[in-house]
Structures are given as C-alpha cells and as structure tokens.
C-alpha cells in the first residue's frame, strides 16, 4: 500500500516536471526552461556519482573526467561532422565507460583517502591533456555549432532538450533502482558494509566494484553529452577538479546512497545559487552557510531529512 502511494507520488512529480515548460512559458520565463534542463542534466550526473559513492562505497573524486569527457566526445564528433545524437551520445557513454574501466582497474587497488586522491589524479591528467589538444579547443573549450540531431525529435528548442534530459533522468533512476535490488546490487550493498566479509564469502569484490565504477561513469558520460547540448560548449572547466567537487557536494547534500540523493542535491545546490543570485551579489556566501549547516546537522543529507518527515 505504501509502495503504491510512493509510486503514484513519483508519477505525479514526473508529470508535473514534464508540464513545467508550459507553466514557465505561461508566466513568460522561458529562460528557466533552459535552466530546468540544466538541473535535470546535473541531477543525472550527481545520480551517477551517487551510484558509485552511495552504492559502491567508493568516494571517487574524479567524476568530472567522465561528465566533462562525455561533453567533449559530443563536441569533437560534431566537429568531425557527426551530428546524430544516436551515434554521438552512445559514443560518449562508451568513451566514459572505457576510460572508467582503465582508471578504475588502476585505482581500485588503493583504498580510502588514497582512492580519493588517485581518482583525482587521473581526472587532472585528463584535464591537462585536453587543454593541451589544439583540436579540442585548448583552454577555450569546443563550441557546438548546433545541437545534436535526435531525429525524429527536434532538439532545437530548450523545451525539447529539457524533456529528453528529464526522460533520461527518469529512466536512469528507474534502472538504477532495479539494479540496486538485483543480485548485483545486493552484492554491492554487502561490499559497502563489509568488504572483507564479502571477499571471505567468495565474491569477486574487485570486479563487482569495477563494474559499479564503470556504470557510474557511463551515466556521467550520458549526462555530459546532454550538457554539451544544453551549454553549446564543451569546456575544460567541466573537467576540472572543482567540477568533481561540485558533483560530490551535490551527492552529499542530497543524501549519499539515497535514491533521490543526487536529484535533490543538484536541484538544491543549483536552485539555491540561482535564487540567491537574484537577490544578492554574494550568493556563494549563503550557499556555503547552507552547505555547512547540512554537513553539521543533517548527516544523511536532504533525503534523510525528508525521510524523517515522511
């Protein structure tokens, strides 16, 4: 009965989100359709990281490599004449997954703080490599001449892009929920709680974690492909460590390991920034205070707060 109510609530929220562009148009705030698309994209990126951190128990500090990397793949392919999203987006996903396979295989030998630092190191290497590549636009990044073509859908307007991003976010959330309940997901839950015990039970812990790392990266690559389209630019800033930090902050803020942790974190952080930006030139000051309050008083993030209420 409770599950049923939850499912209805989720469907209702999804429907409301899908209708949002009409509401924004009605009040003449078209600009915020693009912003909403941005929210959905960052929600997807944060959700992908939350899978790695919250389900896999791996505090990865280099997720920007996959997120920004996906954006670059789309921009580079477009430069090479590949406009179709049906080709470019899977390519972004595949490239991110492949990169994660290599980085993960090397990084997962370390644990704890050292894992944090080595994932950071690999991401920084990618960042510096990309800004040294002339054909990738160097420090300036790579602008997209147009959005990807997702025929038969037209991505030309912000509304369409928003719906696509929203649909992919909803599909990813659904898929990750299923994965979490699958044998694989249950094994991950065991690893997160007691890695040595899972090893002793005979689980191939290294491979299970590596796959988790790769899944998270692949989804981040997809989010990156969307971001390139929303932003019209693949920029080195999207690969820099502060972007990784930002995604991690979204996850912690929203709730580590919570189903909607990434979504809540992305909406809260970007929304707060936007809202405060309208009233003060020093929005980051207050965003900082809010984050600090969450860190000190809401150890399970916003999702934890909501659960307690519910």
């Amino acid at each position: 009965m409770k599950d049923r109510r939850h499912a209805l609530l989720e469907l209702g929220l999804l429907a409301a989100a899908a209708l949002l562009p009409f509401a924004l148009q009605a009040i003449g705030e078209d600009y915020y359709i693009g912003f909403a698309a941005r929210l959905a994209i960052f929600a997807l990126a944060a959700t992908s990281l939350n899978f790695v951190v919250g389900h896999g128990g791996m505090v990865a500090f280099g997720h920007a490599a996959f997120f920004g990397g996906g954006a670059y793949v789309v921009a580079l392919l477009m430069q090479a004449g590949v406009v179709s999203a049906w080709l470019a987006w899977p390519a972004a996903v595949a490239a991110a997954a492949l990169a994660a396979l290599l980085i993960g295989a090397l990084s997962l030998r370390t644990k704890g703080v050292y894992f944090i630092m080595i994932t950071l190191a690999f991401a920084q290497m990618i960042y510096y490599s990309v800004i040294s590549l002339q054909f990738a636009g160097g420090d300036d990044g790579l602008p997209l001449d147009a959005r990807s073509s997702l025929a038969p859908f037209d991505l030309g307007n912000d509304r369409a892009l928003y719906w696509v991003a929203l649909a992919l976010l909803a599909a990813s959330l659904h898929a990750l929920r299923r994965v979490a309940a699958s044998r694989y997901g249950r094994a991950l839950a065991g690893i997160r709680q007691n890695e040595a015990r899972m090893e002793a039970l005979g689980y191939p812990v290294f491979r299970l974690k590596l796959v988790c790392f790769v899944i998270g990266a692949a989804l981040a690559g997809l989010a990156g492909a969307l971001l390139a389209n929303q932003n019209g630019l693949a920029s080195p800033g999207q690969l820099y460590w502060t972007q990784s930090g930002m995604l991690l902050v979204m996850v912690i803020l929203g709730g580590v390991g919570k189903r909607y942790g990434g979504v809540l974190g992305a909406i809260a952080l970007l929304g707060l920034e936007e809202a405060l930006g309208l009233v003060t030139g020093h929005s980051h000051f207050y965003v900082g205070l809010a984050l600090l309050a969450v860190a000190l008083f809401a150890p399970r993030g916003l999702a934890g707060l909501l659960e307690r209420k519910a």
Partner: protein
C-alpha cells in the same frame, strides 16, 4: 645550458619550498586528525589578503608577513575550536562537504571585504632587483623565498624531532589512540597544529603574493598540488611533505622549462608551447599515480 638548468632548478626549489609551507600543515591535519580539509587553500588566500592589506597600511612587507601569520594563526585556531573539531569523528564525506562550504564562504568574504580585483603586493624595495649568483643574475626576492623556506623546514624538523610537542605529533600521526592513552592533551595539540598550519599557509600566501597575484580563487589551484605532495610523501609525515614538495616543485618547473625546448626540436613553436606546459602539469600526477601504485602509502608512511 647548464646555467639555464641551474636557474630552473633554483626556480623549482623556490616553488617546492612554498608548496612545503602549505603541505606541512595539511599533512599533519590529515595524518593526525584524519581530516580532509579542502579549505586549507582558503587559509593561504586569507593570509595573502591579510598580508597585502597590512603591508599596504604599514608600508612594510615584513609587517604584512608577520601580521598575516599571526592573524591566520588566530583564525585557524578559532576555526578548529569552533567548527572543525566537530568533524573529526565524522566520515570523509561530511568533511568534504563542510570544508567545501568553507571555501565558498571564504571566497565570498574576501570579495565582500576587498572586492573582486586582485590586491597589489610588492616585494620589499631592497629585494626588487637581481643579485649576481654563479655568474648570472637571479631575482633577490626569489632567493629570499628559498631562504625562508629552508629556515621553516629546519625549524619544523627541529620542532618535530627534538621537542616534546613534536614527539606528541609523531605519536599522534602513528597511532592516535596510543597517543591519547599516553596522556597527550589531544585537543590542545590539535588546535596548536591547526594554528601552526594556518600560519605557514599565510606565510606562503604573502611570500608568493608578489610573484603571483593576491586574488580570490588563488587557494583552489594550489590546494590540489598540496594534496598531491602529501600523498606522494606519505600522509602525516613532515619529512615526506618536504621530499614530496621538492619533488613536485622541481619536476613541475623543470618539465615546464625543458619540455617545450625538447618539443621544439620536433614540433612547431606553437605546438611545443601548447603541449609543453600541459605535459609538465601531467608529470606531477603521473608521478603521484606511479608512487601510489608502487608504494600505496606514499614514500614515508607515518603509520607503521
């Protein structure tokens, strides 16, 4: 050519020693309190701003330097007792969130007080020119930085190796519970370490100010380098921080200087100019990845 390499090595030494000032405090906080402090770079920025403002007001670089160190030591101690102390027992994720929040707050606070433009900070007039050294001129101010860096390294070595407080620090880095069992007043020790680390950050900020720029965001770029240094050196080890700093400083500078020259032999100047700095930046991270691969605890692990 040898002169060029010598000059570049001096530059590397200078950069490495400044990194050491940052890394020393970071490695102790990280090693002893098991605390990831992303806002360490903000202490560096705060020190630079405080120093630039004080130097301007007093018309003396030295006054600026001392004021910054003292001021940031107080800020550091206050930060530790009021806020960070609550985070020691929490997991790394909570620490990342809280100290990331501190970065945002610090950057905006500086912007509110001093505006978005960089503050001017000039070296003492007497050191603005070059000195003759082994047959070539070298900026006197950079020599001063090298001197101060070496002096601080020696001071820290004596402090950690020869004093009672230093023994506590070493004990704390190796095994915190044991240190507590031995009757070390851990709370006061932590506050002291934090204040010292903040003062060293401030010194680095003021000393580097005239060479770089005293500006918002200066801490973020250098923070990651400091983390790389302490991971290479081994978390919690002062000796590791020193070796790691010099390694990173020299590798970075020599790479930056020599790679373009080498590349120029095989590529156009523009390509060489582009690829060179990027490759040099990567070498640091390659170094770290390699060290971690072969010695997962860094070069000088503090924990047995």
């Amino acid at each position: 050519m040898t002169q060029l390499i010598l000059e570049q090595a001096l530059n590397g030494l200078q950069f490495g020693l400044m990194l050491f000032l940052l890394a020393a405090g970071l490695t102790l906080v990280f090693g002893i309190m098991d605390m990831i402090n992303l806002s360490h770079g903000s202490l560096y920025m705060g020190g630079a701003y405080l120093g630039a403002a004080a130097a301007q007001a007093a018309g003396s670089f030295l006054v600026g330097l001392l004021a910054a160190m003292l001021g940031m030591a107080v800020v550091g101690a206050a930060l530790e007792t009021l806020l960070l102390r609550r985070l020691y027992a929490r997991d790394h994720l909570a620490q990342v969130l809280a100290t990331f929040a501190l970065i945002l707050i610090a950057n905006e606070t500086v912007r509110m007080i001093w505006g978005p433009q960089p503050l001017p900070l000039n070296p003492p007039a007497a050191l603005a020119g070059p000195v003759e050294l082994f047959g070539f001129s070298y900026p006197a101010y950079r020599l001063l930085i090298i001197g101060v860096g070496l002096a601080v390294a020696a001071f820290l070595y004596l402090l950690v190796a020869r004093t009672r407080a230093g023994m506590w620090v070493r004990a704390g880095a190796a095994n915190r519970e044991m240190a507590e069992a031995l009757g070390v007043d851990v709370r006061r020790l932590f506050t002291g370490i934090f204040a010292l680390g903040a003062a060293l950050c401030a010194a680095a900020g003021v000393l580097l100010g005239p060479l770089l720029a005293v500006q918002v965001g200066m801490g973020e770029n250098i923070l990651i380098l400091a983390f790389v240094v302490i991971v290479i050196g081994g978390i919690g080890s002062i000796r590791g921080a020193l070796v790691g700093s010099l390694l990173v400083g020299v590798v970075d500078t020599l790479g930056r200087a020599l790679l373009p020259t080498l590349l120029r032999a095989v590529a156009s100047p523009e390509v060489a100019g582009h690829l060179g700095p990027a490759l040099a930046s990567i070498t640091i991270y390659l170094l770290m990845a390699a060290v971690l691969f072969f010695r997962p605890q860094g070069l000088f692990p503090a924990r047995a």
